[in-house]
């Protein structure tokens, strides 16, 4: 069967935003060209500077920067801040918490959202649009609108001890997975249903002729066709959930259960006397997102683009 490849032509291609003007411009006036270049180069320098500056501080010994200031030529560069930040602050533990929250949350939200999007686009329920609006709007609310009751709710819902050693949704990894899943569902349902709408109806008619049930049409036909969108969403969600600060700050009381991003707030207090260590810890915490940035930037951008356009 070659349905996959033959179909892909009619599906929207998930692509990174690429300059659409490339190669087919009429001759731009040179001064405009130069002005654009100067502007973009200065912007790029300004955009990189804060990050490189923090990296530079992280690479320098504390004694040196206190003496000469951050803006000075290096007398020596060292990785010691990185090793110290890594070993003295429990960062491996916080990273593990991030993994325990991010990985299940991404898998679950994509699984659930695929199911919802499939039902909303392929089963005529009469309330399809209403449900789609419900999911989409939920994701657009500022988190702070729901946090007060959510916080009380988390203190009320008991969890078995293997899911939470606090015995509650509050202050548990499970609780964070649940809120990340619930909150991101709306966005994923919106993106995936737009994507699924573009799958030609004939595919489903053919599947029906072959006697495929609803589950088969979902799992064997739709999900594989949505692979590009799922990959883009997975990249986006991994970054977003890893970067989450608010849920972890509000729905967790003990610092040792927090994921890396929110643990940075505690580290800042812990290392208050040695800013170079904070810089190093921040750079370490940025590593996963930088890996995504370097390897999967196109996927990430594709996810954002899918979310902002219909179909």
């Amino acid at each position: 069967m070659t349905t996959d490849s033959s179909l892909s032509g009619s599906l929207p291609q998930v692509r990174a935003a690429q300059p659409s003007g490339a190669g087919r411009r009429d001759k731009p006036r040179p001064w405009g060209q130069i002005a654009s270049q100067v502007f973009l180069i200065s912007a790029s320098v300004l955009w990189l500077l804060p990050i490189l500056f923090a990296l530079y501080i992280a690479l320098r010994p504390y004694s040196e920067t206190t003496k000469y200031g951050y803006v000075s030529l290096p007398h020596s560069l060292t990785l010691k801040n990185f090793t110290d930040a890594w070993s003295s602050s429990g960062m491996p533990h916080f990273f593990w918490n991030s993994v325990l929250i991010t990985v299940p949350a991404v898998v679950i939200v994509l699984g659930l959202a695929s199911g919802v999007a499939f039902v909303l686009t392929r089963v005529n329920l009469k309330v399809n649009v209403a449900l789609l609006i419900l999911f989409t709007a939920g994701n657009l609310l500022p988190q702070q609108v729901i946090i007060t009751p959510l916080y009380r709710l988390y203190l009320l819902i008991p969890l078995p001890s293997f899911l939470s050693d606090s015995g509650l949704m509050y202050n548990s990894i499970t609780g964070l997975v649940v809120i990340n899943v619930s909150f991101q569902l709306g966005f994923c349902v919106f993106v995936l249903s737009n994507y699924m709408k573009s799958i030609p109806e004939e595919m489903y008619e053919a599947a029906l002729v072959d006697g495929a049930g609803l589950w088969t049409r979902f799992w064997r036909l739709t999900v594989p066709l949505c692979r590009p969108a799922l990959a883009a969403l997975a990249t986006l969600l991994t970054t977003w959930i890893y970067n989450d600060f608010f849920w972890a700050i509000t729905l967790m009381s003990s610092g040792d259960k927090r994921p890396v991003t929110s643990a940075l707030a505690n580290l800042q207090g812990q290392f208050v006397s040695n800013q170079n260590l904070i810089a190093a810890a921040a750079m370490i915490a940025a590593v996963p997102t930088l890996v995504v940035y370097i390897l999967l930037q196109k996927q990430f951008i594709a996810g954002l683009s899918l979310g902002s356009s219909k179909g």
């Binding site: 973009l40 049930g213 970067n243 954002l304």
Partner: protein, 303 residues
């Protein structure tokens, strides 16, 4: 059945952990409750110790207190409005400008795009920490460069309540512009190239082509960006929280909501009332977005 299974669990999650709390915020905002003990449906009594009143119906008193005697409320509203204004006047146009220039395919556009987009990948908490080195009073980049890093005349960018909001807004703009750029690039890419060619044939210059031809056809993406701009400025929290926990010049509505539930004294009713203020404001961009997105859909449904 399969439909029930595929739809049921996610719907339940969305209702239980997003929509129920959103509704509950509205209901709780009319009560006076410290989170301990039960809520009841008796009106709060005047002139009794608050312990006896706990859980009572408070009418619109929370709102009344917020706008009259809560000292942080109006500063927070003002800061949120400034935040929104800076996003509308600076961050969004800057991101659009980046996108338009990059879309013209000038040399190095791929590299510029990657660099300008980098902050979007970083968490806001991390961005707050990174910029603390730029703003640091005695050792920081800015003060050293402008020669104000002495002990007497150092500028306290993040500590001075007249400056810190603007300093943080530079950080926020630094990230938001890249975000808008990516969204806008996706929109520009989808514009039919023949439109542009036709405009050029008609003798339009680049400026006219953009404002008269490209910008109008990008209405859907313009709405998305407007919605993102408003909602991101209402959600703003992480940057100010990591900088100084959102006090002393950095108050925002989102911070006030949070400090009334995770602080020492829990004022559930009052915090909810502040949440409702956020909810009401956010409903405006949300409705605009839903209207533009699903208008065509419901028409399709009817036909």
């Amino acid at each position: 059945m399969v439909v029930g299974l595929l739809l049921g669990i996610p719907l339940l999650l969305d209702l239980a952990f997003v929509w129920f709390p959103a509704l509950a915020t509205v209901l709780l905002s009319f009560t006076k409750w410290n989170g301990v003990g039960d809520l009841h449906n008796k009106a709060c009594l005047p002139n009794v110790p608050s312990i006896l009143n706990n859980g009572c119906l408070y009418g619109i008193q929370n709102y009344h207190q917020a706008v009259t005697i809560y000292p942080e409320f109006w500063p927070a509203v003002r800061h949120n409005l400034i935040w929104l204004a800076v996003f509308i006047l600076f961050a969004t146009p800057l991101g659009m400008l980046f996108a338009v220039l990059i879309d013209r395919g000038i040399k190095g556009s791929r590299m510029y795009q990657s660099i300008l987009f980098l902050p979007v990948m970083l968490s806001l908490a991390l961005i707050g920490i990174i910029w603390e080195f730029v703003y640091s009073q005695n050792l920081g980049l800015i003060n050293t460069v402008i020669g104000r890093n002495g002990n007497n005349n150092a500028i306290d960018w993040l500590g001075n309540p007249h400056l810190n909001l603007w300093a943080v807004l530079v950080e926020a703009t630094w990230r938001q512009a890249g975000y808008v750029m990516v969204l806008y690039l996706a929109g520009l890419k989808a514009v039919d190239p023949t439109l542009r060619e036709a405009a050029v044939v008609d003798g339009a210059n680049a400026w006219q082509t953009f404002w008269r031809v490209i910008f109008p056809v990008m209405r859907p993406i313009n709405v998305v960006i407007m919605v993102v701009t408003v909602i991101e400025s209402l959600r703003a929290f992480d940057l100010v929280y990591i900088t100084n926990k959102g006090i002393n010049g950095l108050e925002l509505l989102s911070v006030l909501v949070t400090s009334n539930i995770v602080g020492e004294t829990q004022r559930v009713g009052f915090g909810s009332a502040l949440g409702v203020v956020l909810l009401v404001i956010s409903l405006v961009p949300i409705c605009i977005f839903l209207f533009q997105t699903f208008r065509s859909e419901s028409r399709e449904g009817q036909s």
